[in-house]
């Protein structure tokens, strides 16, 4: 029997991909919004990384990154330029993961505790988290991005690709 609200040949894999897209989009909207609500606190957390010291570069990151994440999350939820957004988010997540890992290693060395016991607020938007849980979350999100990059999940998209 034909399902009137679903595209033709809509498989379980397509359904899972749509779900992944919505989850990834929702995740970025939430995380970005948490930071956008308190850009002052986000800027302060960025300073703890001691990577960017120029005050104007810090302002630029603290202003742009939270809203940029919200923007990309909304595009994913709506299904606009999906592969481009997935590529951007996966690349951003890869960089964040390396930076967070580096800071966690520093904290572990300073406090002489097991790596997975390191808990801190990485400025990701979710408050203080254990590093191993954070890294697992990031890897899963990168995998979700890569899955979307592979070209699946065209169903329920407003404008899957900007160029025809």
């Amino acid at each position: 029997m034909r399902r009137p609200f679903l595209p033709p040949n809509f498989t379980a894999l397509d359904a899972a991909t749509v779900l992944v897209r919505w989850l990834l989009g929702g995740f970025f909207v939430y995380m970005g919004w948490q930071k956008a609500l308190h850009p002052d606190l986000f800027q302060d957390l960025l300073r703890e990384y001691h990577i960017v010291q120029n005050p104007f570069a810090l302002n630029f990151i603290a202003i742009s990154l939270p809203w940029f994440e919200v923007f990309c999350g909304l595009l994913l939820l709506a299904g606009i330029a999906v592969r481009g957004v997935a590529l951007l988010l996966s690349a951003m997540l890869a960089v964040f993961t390396v930076v967070v890992l580096h800071r966690a290693a520093g904290l572990q060395a300073a406090e002489a505790i097991p790596f997975c016991s390191v808990k801190f607020d990485c400025g990701c938007g979710g408050g203080p988290e254990f590093i191993c849980a954070k890294l697992t979350e990031n890897v899963l999100m990168i995998l979700a991005g890569v899955w979307l990059l592979a070209g699946r999940g065209r169903a329920f998209c407003a404008l899957y690709a900007l160029a025809p």
Binding site: F68, V70, L75, L88
Partner: protein, 199 residues
Amino acid sequence: MGVAGLAFAFVANQLSPRGLNPSRNYHPGGEKPDPAPQTAKTPSVSLTTTNSRPPAASPDAALKERLEKNGLHLLPRDEVEKLFHDPRRQQDLLMFIDARDEDEYHQGHIPGAYEFYHYYPDKYLAEVLTPCQLAEQIIVYCAGGDCDDSESAALCLRDHGVPAAKLFVYGGGMTNWEAARLPVESGARDSGSIRNPAP
């Protein structure tokens, strides 16, 4: 898409009541200090090796040096406590300034302290600047530890014409104050809701 995202971000920041000013240096004091180690830990290598580095200056000494570079002064808790009981405080000749955000201020601050969160100076300057001009001594504090909002707030006040000679930073901050079970006021300034009232 990247350009569209950045444009969206800057417009949203402009419209947000909590948006930041891209051209302002929020921390003129410089890089954020590293937090002090919580406890002394057993060293994993012998301290008698010839390559061992000299011990770092104490966090207080480092903070004092950092503040003095900017013309500010560090106050330890015992002196802050004395100043808290100084009768000049009742006449606003001696004032306390809480440099933490609004939520933290309302949860508990040093009784009578003015609120001044330096990220949004326009919101607080009108109320704080006149008393600052009249006061003989101003003690600025934040949470303590690696928090440097007190230093940034003091520098912001200095940049708005408050003489640096009057500005003192209580490095231990609210954490240190509460640990000593000293009086804490919750809610608005002079709300009268005091925990650990002075005997």
